[in-house]
């Protein structure tokens, strides 16, 4: 029997239904992600990928089933905001950077809920993270002064602000050209190796999926396969 404590993040028979239109977005999804693992979730539009990412990231609550982080059920936690702030980094397709803030200031936004209390510490950390994603030279620029690829790298630095062990990304290369997408994917790979970061990436892109340790394919709210990217024969998981 699978034990949730064996995983960094574990979803056990998670279901989610939206009353509007009676849509069954997730239907008994079970999956586990280990520390440092890179998991890609793919599937057609409307198959439940983003809903699954929201439930895994404690942005949404499942109707049935449970999500465990380091073996602890999220449903019993009263501090889900703090949990998101310190344990999870989010990267979105549309970056969602604050337009009035510089790159360095954008990276500091999650730090207000992080462990660093001194302003100088936050500034240094933000500068270091921008250096890490190759944006040190653009730290004082506002989002509209940056290319889309640069914006996504700043968003990635922001996601790492509080040193989370898990990064959730929703179509992180969806708005990028192939050159910029390649840079972002390189960064994902570096971070996974250097920081032992677990990555869950929702994507339509075969290139993104090809870099993952595992590719989970979804359809109609269920996982239809969970396998290594090179494997052509799928292992049916959900039921």
């Amino acid at each position: 029997m699978t034990n949730p404590t064996d995983f960094l993040l574990y979803a056990d028979a998670v279901a989610k239904r939206y009353p509007d239109g009676d849509v069954r977005a997730l239907n008994g999804v079970t999956l586990g992600v280990r520390p440092g693992e890179y998991v890609a979730i793919t599937g057609p539009s409307g198959c439940g990928k983003s809903t699954l990412l929201n439930v895994l990231g404690a942005l949404d609550v499942p109707d049935a089933g449970a999500v465990y982080f380091k073996g602890e059920p999220l449903a019993t936690r009263r501090d889900l905001d703090t949990f998101r702030a310190r344990q999870i980094g989010f990267v979105f397709q549309s970056f969602f950077l604050m337009p009035t803030l510089t790159a360095r200031e954008n990276v500091q936004v999650p730090m207000f809920e992080g462990p660093l209390t001194a302003r100088a510490e936050r500034v240094k950390k933000a500068t270091d993270l921008l250096e890490l994603v190759g944006m040190g030279h653009r730290a004082s620029h506002r989002p509209k002064q940056l290319s889309v690829g640069e914006r996504q790298r700043v968003a990635l630095a922001r996601a790492l602000a509080n040193d989370p062990p898990l990064l959730l990304a929703d179509e992180p290369t969806g708005n990028l050209d192939s050159a910029n997408a390649a840079k972002v994917l390189d960064l994902f790979a570096q971070l996974q190796k250097a920081r032992g970061l677990a990555l869950i990436v929702v994507t339509h892109s075969d290139e993104v999926a090809a870099l993952a340790d595992r590719v989970i394919r979804m359809r109609d709210g269920q996982i239809v396969s969970d396998c290594a990217p090179a494997t052509t024969t799928a292992r049916t998981v959900s039921g």
Binding site: F96, M98, T100, V109, V123
Partner: protein, 394 residues
């Protein structure tokens, strides 16, 4: 970056809307501060004048809360002045009338006029001893019947008059024999004549509008001595034995009851309440729009771990920051406005330039309250946004 800096930068996202909101609130706060400041300066000027002159009791006719409408028989003043427990007395017939700005050019010409407060004093008034004569001399008993006048320095400046000139009040020319300055701005901004002359001119012979006095304090209980004089004045009767219905009051009590001060204060508060309501609605509109426009942004903040508490702090903080800036501009505007108004001849004798610090603090408090009330509901709405809903918002 500090949280306050973050809040400040949010306000720069829509600079025109921020500027217009600050402008609107500044007008609201400025009108509040200016009106309350003027109302307070009226009272403060009178309180300072009483204090400086050592006035123990102010006497008006019972039921009259304002000296302009009060009538007290003049013989009472002369009688009270002979009491051994009364050290000095200061009686006046105070009138608010119009002064002709210039001479009529022909028989049909009605020259423009300017409101002026006339103080008609007895030559024995202790007020003469407290004034600084800047030019000319003081009025004396021997001037009675000559229609001489002393004019306050603010009044002299506003009408450009000096010793030797004449002014026309109630169609009678008064010759200016002196220019004076006192601590009371209504006196500095008005004219002073002798009681008898003005009684004759205004048809109010034998009456004054009120009197003040200093009590001879010889014991260790001065309050009791003042109270004894107060009781004695209240007991005064006419020759038929009827009570004169005089109401001697301590200066602070007089100021509390003075209806002109009460009306001024009430008007200031009423206009302030309306300005505050407009300010709250304006702030509510601005912050509600701001939250609606930033639904997605707030959703991101919630997604990356900001608790509801911090979202509330952000929105309320933005509202308070707007209110603080508005309070600063409004206060500067109010101080500037009272100084500007004091330059206009039509009103400069009625307005003391400058605003008390306590009024500026009250105005800032009002502004912060506007920020708090106007920001509360949008902050609540922002904090209730679900990250997933907000992220789907276009």
């Amino acid at each position: 970056m500090t949280f306050v800096a973050f809040i400040f930068k949010n306000l720069t996202q829509r600079p025109i809307r921020t500027a217009l909101t600050v402008l609107g609130l500044s007008v609201a706060v400025g009108s509040m501060v200016a009106l309350m400041g003027i109302a307070k300066s009226f009272r403060a000027a009178q309180a300072a004048s009483f204090e400086e002159r050592g006035v123990d009791l102010v006497t008006l006719r019972g039921g009259d809360a304002i000296q302009l409408t009060s009538e007290v028989p003049e013989w009472v003043v002369h009688e009270v002045s002979t009491w051994p427990e009364v050290k000095a007395i200061d009686a006046a017939l105070v009138d608010m009338t119009e002064m002709q700005i210039r001479e009529p050019r022909n028989a049909d010409d009605v020259p423009p006029s300017k409101p002026v407060i006339v103080q008609a004093w007895l030559p024995i008034n202790f007020g003469f001893g407290d004034m600084d004569v800047l030019e000319g001399r003081k009025l004396e008993a021997k001037d009675e019947g000559k229609y001489y006048t002393m004019i306050g320095n603010e009044f002299a400046k506003s009408v450009n008059k000096k010793v030797g000139d004449t002014i026309t009040i109630l169609q009678k020319k008064f010759e200016v024999v002196g220019v004076f300055k006192t601590s009371n701005f209504t006196e500095r901004g008005g004219v002073l004549t002798l009681l008898k002359d003005y009684q004759d001119l205004s048809g109010r012979k034998g009456v004054v509008t009120g009197f003040s006095l200093r009590v001879n304090k010889t014991t260790s209980d001065p309050d009791a001595e003042v109270e004894a004089v107060r009781q004695r004045i209240m007991a005064l009767t006419n020759n038929k034995g009827d009570s004169l219905r005089l109401t001697p009051q301590r200066p602070e009590q007089y100021l509390d009851n003075a209806s002109h001060l009460k009306i001024t204060a009430a008007m200031a508060w009423m206009v302030s309440a309306i300005a505050m309501l407009i300010g709250v609605i304006s702030m509510l509109n601005t912050m509600a729009m701001s939250v609606l426009e930033r639904t997605q942004e707030i959703g991101i903040l919630r997604a990356i771990g900001w608790p509801r508490r911090r979202v509330v702090q952000m929105v309320i903080g933005e509202a308070l920051l707007l209110a603080l800036v508005a309070a600063a501009f409004g206060s500067i505007g109010a101080v500037g406005a009272t100084h500007l108004m004091s330059l206009f001849p039509q009103v400069n004798t009625l307005i003391e330039p400058g605003i008390a610090v306590s009024v500026l603090v009250t105005g800032t408090g009002f502004a912060l309250l506007i920020g708090l009330l106007g920001g509360a509901y949008p902050a609540y709405r922002a904090s209730r946004l679900l990250p997933t809903e907000a992220l789907r918002h276009d």
